[in-house]
Protein backbone atom coordinates (compact mmCIF):
# COMPACT_ATOMS: atom_id res chain seq x y z
CA UNK A 1 0.00 0.00 0.00
CA UNK A 2 2.68 2.48 1.08
CA UNK A 3 4.68 1.41 -1.96
CA UNK A 4 1.83 2.43 -4.28
CA UNK A 5 1.59 5.87 -2.68
CA UNK A 6 5.38 6.21 -2.97
CA UNK A 7 5.34 5.26 -6.65
CA UNK A 8 2.48 7.68 -7.35
CA UNK A 9 4.24 10.56 -5.57
CA UNK A 10 7.53 9.93 -7.38
CA UNK A 11 5.87 9.74 -10.81
CA UNK A 12 3.77 12.82 -10.11
CA UNK A 13 6.83 14.74 -8.94
CA UNK A 14 8.92 13.75 -11.95
CA UNK A 15 6.02 14.62 -14.28
CA UNK A 16 5.54 18.11 -12.83
CA UNK A 17 9.29 18.74 -12.92
CA UNK A 18 9.26 17.83 -16.61
CA UNK A 19 6.23 20.06 -17.28
CA UNK A 20 8.05 22.98 -15.65
CA UNK A 21 11.02 22.52 -17.98
CA UNK A 22 8.79 22.05 -21.03
CA UNK A 23 7.15 25.36 -20.15
CA UNK A 24 10.58 26.93 -19.83
CA UNK A 25 11.54 25.78 -23.31
CA UNK A 26 8.33 26.26 -25.27
CA UNK A 27 6.58 29.41 -24.01
CA UNK A 28 7.21 32.46 -26.20
CA UNK A 29 8.46 35.21 -23.86
CA UNK A 30 10.35 35.59 -20.59
CA UNK A 31 7.42 36.61 -18.40
CA UNK A 32 5.44 33.56 -19.52
CA UNK A 33 8.40 31.23 -19.07
CA UNK A 34 8.61 32.44 -15.47
CA UNK A 35 5.37 30.58 -14.69
CA UNK A 36 6.58 27.11 -15.62
CA UNK A 37 9.54 26.54 -13.32
CA UNK A 38 8.36 28.52 -10.28
CA UNK A 39 5.18 26.49 -9.93
CA UNK A 40 5.48 23.14 -11.61
CA UNK A 41 9.03 22.49 -10.43
CA UNK A 42 8.31 23.50 -6.86
CA UNK A 43 5.39 21.11 -6.55
CA UNK A 44 7.30 18.44 -8.48
CA UNK A 45 10.30 18.56 -6.18
CA UNK A 46 7.92 18.86 -3.21
CA UNK A 47 6.21 15.59 -4.15
CA UNK A 48 9.55 13.79 -4.62
CA UNK A 49 10.78 15.07 -1.24
CA UNK A 50 7.61 13.87 0.52
CA UNK A 51 8.09 10.48 -1.17
CA UNK A 52 11.66 10.42 0.17
CA UNK A 53 10.46 11.24 3.71
CA UNK A 54 7.91 8.41 3.46
CA UNK A 55 10.51 5.98 2.11
CA UNK A 56 13.05 6.61 4.87
CA UNK A 57 10.40 6.64 7.60
CA UNK A 58 9.31 3.20 6.39
CA UNK A 59 12.79 1.69 6.24
CA UNK A 60 14.73 3.15 9.15
CA UNK A 61 13.64 3.13 12.77
CA UNK A 62 11.76 6.28 13.67
CA UNK A 63 10.40 8.92 11.34
CA UNK A 64 12.58 10.86 8.95
CA UNK A 65 11.29 14.37 8.52
CA UNK A 66 14.28 16.43 7.45
CA UNK A 67 13.13 16.38 3.82
CA UNK A 68 10.30 18.65 4.98
CA UNK A 69 13.00 21.25 5.60
CA UNK A 70 14.01 21.40 1.91
CA UNK A 71 10.36 21.43 0.83
CA UNK A 72 9.66 24.32 3.18
CA UNK A 73 12.78 26.15 2.02
CA UNK A 74 11.83 25.75 -1.66
CA UNK A 75 8.26 26.93 -1.06
CA UNK A 76 9.53 30.04 0.71
CA UNK A 77 12.34 30.88 -1.73
CA UNK A 78 10.69 30.09 -5.09
CA UNK A 79 8.29 33.07 -5.04
CA UNK A 80 11.05 35.39 -3.79
CA UNK A 81 13.39 34.51 -6.64
CA UNK A 82 10.50 34.67 -9.16
CA UNK A 83 9.62 38.14 -7.90
CA UNK A 84 13.21 39.37 -8.15
CA UNK A 85 13.73 37.91 -11.62
CA UNK A 86 10.50 39.55 -12.85
CA UNK A 87 11.55 42.84 -11.30
CA UNK A 88 14.97 42.66 -12.92
CA UNK A 89 13.40 41.74 -16.29
CA UNK A 90 11.02 44.71 -16.12
CA UNK A 91 13.93 46.93 -15.14
CA UNK A 92 16.05 45.99 -18.16
CA UNK A 93 12.91 45.96 -20.36
CA UNK A 94 12.98 42.37 -21.58
CA UNK A 95 10.88 41.92 -24.76
CA UNK A 96 7.22 40.89 -24.35
CA UNK A 97 4.91 39.10 -26.74
CA UNK A 98 2.91 41.66 -28.74
CA UNK A 99 -0.44 40.50 -27.42
CA UNK A 100 0.57 41.06 -23.79
CA UNK A 101 -2.05 43.08 -21.95
CA UNK A 102 -0.59 46.28 -20.51
CA UNK A 103 -1.50 47.44 -16.99
CA UNK A 104 -4.10 50.19 -16.72
CA UNK A 105 -2.33 53.42 -15.93
CA UNK A 106 -3.17 54.48 -12.40
Amino acid sequence: MVEWILALLILLGAFFTLVGSIGLLKLPDFYMRLHGPTKASTLGVGAILIASALHFSRNAEGVSLHEILITLFLFITAPVSAHLMAKAAIHIKVKQVDRTRQPDSK
Binding site: M32, H35, L43, L69, P79, H83
Partner: protein
Protein backbone atom coordinates in the same frame (compact mmCIF):
# COMPACT_ATOMS: atom_id res chain seq x y z
CA UNK B 1 8.32 41.53 31.39
CA UNK B 2 11.11 39.10 32.25
CA UNK B 3 9.67 36.55 29.82
CA UNK B 4 9.73 39.20 27.08
CA UNK B 5 13.44 39.83 27.79
CA UNK B 6 14.36 36.17 27.45
CA UNK B 7 12.06 35.51 24.47
CA UNK B 8 11.91 38.71 22.41
CA UNK B 9 10.33 36.73 19.56
CA UNK B 10 8.59 33.62 20.90
CA UNK B 11 7.48 32.44 17.46
CA UNK B 12 11.01 32.82 16.02
CA UNK B 13 12.38 30.82 18.96
CA UNK B 14 9.89 28.05 18.37
CA UNK B 15 10.60 27.89 14.62
CA UNK B 16 14.37 27.86 15.22
CA UNK B 17 13.98 24.99 17.68
CA UNK B 18 11.88 22.96 15.21
CA UNK B 19 14.33 23.64 12.36
CA UNK B 20 17.27 22.52 14.52
CA UNK B 21 15.52 19.24 15.32
CA UNK B 22 14.55 18.71 11.66
CA UNK B 23 18.08 19.48 10.48
CA UNK B 24 19.51 16.83 12.79
CA UNK B 25 16.58 14.54 12.11
CA UNK B 26 16.42 13.36 15.72
CA UNK B 27 14.51 13.77 18.95
CA UNK B 28 17.52 12.82 21.14
CA UNK B 29 17.58 14.63 24.49
CA UNK B 30 20.94 16.30 23.77
CA UNK B 31 19.66 17.93 20.59
CA UNK B 32 16.40 18.96 22.23
CA UNK B 33 18.39 20.86 24.88
CA UNK B 34 21.00 22.27 22.46
CA UNK B 35 18.23 23.40 20.08
CA UNK B 36 16.44 25.02 23.00
CA UNK B 37 19.60 26.92 23.96
CA UNK B 38 20.11 28.14 20.38
CA UNK B 39 16.44 29.11 20.16
CA UNK B 40 16.97 31.42 23.16
CA UNK B 41 20.39 32.81 22.21
CA UNK B 42 19.83 33.58 18.49
CA UNK B 43 16.67 35.75 18.86
CA UNK B 44 18.30 37.43 21.87
CA UNK B 45 21.49 38.43 20.01
CA UNK B 46 19.68 39.45 16.84
CA UNK B 47 16.71 41.22 18.42
CA UNK B 48 18.08 44.60 17.32
CA UNK B 49 17.61 43.50 13.66
CA UNK B 50 13.85 43.23 14.15
CA UNK B 51 12.72 46.50 15.66
CA UNK B 52 9.01 46.22 14.84
CA UNK B 53 7.00 43.58 16.60
CA UNK B 54 4.58 41.63 14.46
CA UNK B 55 1.63 40.52 16.51
CA UNK B 56 -0.20 37.38 15.49
CA UNK B 57 -3.74 37.80 16.69
CA UNK B 58 -5.10 34.51 15.42
CA UNK B 59 -2.46 31.79 14.98
CA UNK B 60 -5.05 29.13 14.14
CA UNK B 61 -6.28 31.27 11.22
CA UNK B 62 -2.72 31.28 9.89
CA UNK B 63 -2.65 27.47 10.00
CA UNK B 64 -5.97 27.33 8.16
CA UNK B 65 -4.58 29.81 5.64
CA UNK B 66 -1.55 27.56 5.01
CA UNK B 67 -3.84 24.62 4.19
CA UNK B 68 -5.98 26.77 1.89
CA UNK B 69 -2.80 27.87 0.07
CA UNK B 70 -1.55 24.27 -0.24
CA UNK B 71 -4.89 23.25 -1.78
CA UNK B 72 -4.77 26.22 -4.16
CA UNK B 73 -1.23 25.25 -5.21
CA UNK B 74 -2.42 21.76 -6.18
CA UNK B 75 -5.32 23.16 -8.23
CA UNK B 76 -3.07 25.83 -9.74
CA UNK B 77 -0.57 23.25 -10.87
CA UNK B 78 -3.16 21.26 -12.77
CA UNK B 79 -4.45 24.46 -14.43
CA UNK B 80 -0.93 25.65 -15.31
CA UNK B 81 0.02 22.19 -16.61
CA UNK B 82 -2.94 22.29 -19.00
CA UNK B 83 -2.00 25.80 -20.13
CA UNK B 84 1.65 24.86 -20.70
CA UNK B 85 0.92 21.65 -22.61
CA UNK B 86 -1.80 23.31 -24.71
CA UNK B 87 -1.19 25.58 -27.69
CA UNK B 88 0.80 28.55 -26.47
CA UNK B 89 -0.56 30.79 -29.24
CA UNK B 90 -3.97 30.63 -27.53
CA UNK B 91 -2.67 32.18 -24.30
CA UNK B 92 -3.40 35.81 -23.49
CA UNK B 93 -0.67 36.88 -21.07
CA UNK B 94 -0.73 40.29 -19.45
CA UNK B 95 0.08 42.62 -16.58
CA UNK B 96 -2.37 44.25 -14.20
CA UNK B 97 -2.28 46.34 -11.04
CA UNK B 98 -3.83 44.90 -7.90
CA UNK B 99 -4.87 47.55 -5.39
CA UNK B 100 -3.83 46.46 -1.89
CA UNK B 101 -6.00 46.86 1.16
CA UNK B 102 -3.44 45.27 3.47
CA UNK B 103 -1.09 47.62 5.29
CA UNK B 104 1.31 45.56 7.39
CA UNK B 105 4.59 44.80 5.55
CA UNK B 106 4.55 41.14 6.61
CA UNK B 107 1.01 40.79 5.31
CA UNK B 108 1.93 42.31 1.94
CA UNK B 109 4.98 40.06 1.73
CA UNK B 110 2.91 36.96 2.45
CA UNK B 111 0.27 37.99 -0.09
CA UNK B 112 2.91 38.57 -2.79
CA UNK B 113 4.47 35.17 -2.05
CA UNK B 114 1.08 33.47 -2.17
CA UNK B 115 0.25 35.12 -5.49
CA UNK B 116 3.55 33.95 -6.95
CA UNK B 117 2.91 30.38 -5.78
CA UNK B 118 -0.64 30.04 -7.18
CA UNK B 119 -2.75 30.02 -10.41
CA UNK B 120 -0.56 31.26 -13.24
CA UNK B 121 0.20 34.58 -11.57
CA UNK B 122 3.53 36.09 -10.54
CA UNK B 123 3.86 39.27 -8.50
CA UNK B 124 6.42 41.47 -10.26
CA UNK B 125 6.65 44.76 -8.41
CA UNK B 126 5.33 46.72 -5.47
CA UNK B 127 4.54 50.39 -6.14
CA UNK B 128 6.53 53.07 -4.29
CA UNK B 129 3.66 53.98 -1.98
CA UNK B 130 2.99 50.30 -1.15
CA UNK B 131 -0.60 50.61 -2.39
CA UNK B 132 -0.58 48.31 -5.41
CA UNK B 133 1.11 45.17 -6.72
CA UNK B 134 2.05 44.68 -10.36
CA UNK B 135 1.06 41.14 -11.31
CA UNK B 136 1.77 39.14 -14.47
CA UNK B 137 -0.70 36.45 -15.42
CA UNK B 138 -0.10 33.59 -17.84
CA UNK B 139 -3.65 33.67 -19.19
CA UNK B 140 -6.23 36.41 -18.67
CA UNK B 141 -9.89 35.92 -19.49
CA UNK B 142 -11.30 38.53 -17.16
CA UNK B 143 -9.12 40.77 -15.02
CA UNK B 144 -11.91 41.64 -12.58
CA UNK B 145 -12.53 37.93 -11.88
CA UNK B 146 -8.84 37.28 -11.10
CA UNK B 147 -8.71 40.30 -8.78
CA UNK B 148 -11.90 39.22 -7.00
CA UNK B 149 -10.46 35.70 -6.60
CA UNK B 150 -7.24 36.98 -5.05
CA UNK B 151 -9.19 39.23 -2.70
CA UNK B 152 -11.64 36.55 -1.60
CA UNK B 153 -9.17 33.67 -1.19
CA UNK B 154 -6.05 35.36 0.11
CA UNK B 155 -6.30 39.02 1.04
CA UNK B 156 -9.34 38.83 3.30
CA UNK B 157 -7.97 35.98 5.48
CA UNK B 158 -4.61 37.78 5.68
CA UNK B 159 -6.38 40.96 6.80
CA UNK B 160 -7.98 38.96 9.61
CA UNK B 161 -4.65 37.46 10.64
CA UNK B 162 -2.61 40.66 10.73
CA UNK B 163 -4.92 43.07 12.44
CA UNK B 164 -3.33 46.53 12.55
CA UNK B 165 -0.44 46.34 14.99
Amino acid sequence: MAVRRIFPHPLLSFVLWIIWLLLNNTMAMGHVVLGGLLAVIIPWTTSSFWPEKTVLKHPWLLIKYIFVVLYEIMVANIVVTKLILGRSSKLNPGFFHYELQLESPVGIGLLANTISLTPGTVSCDLSEDKRSLLIHSLHIDDVAAIKADIHRKFERPLKDIFVSC
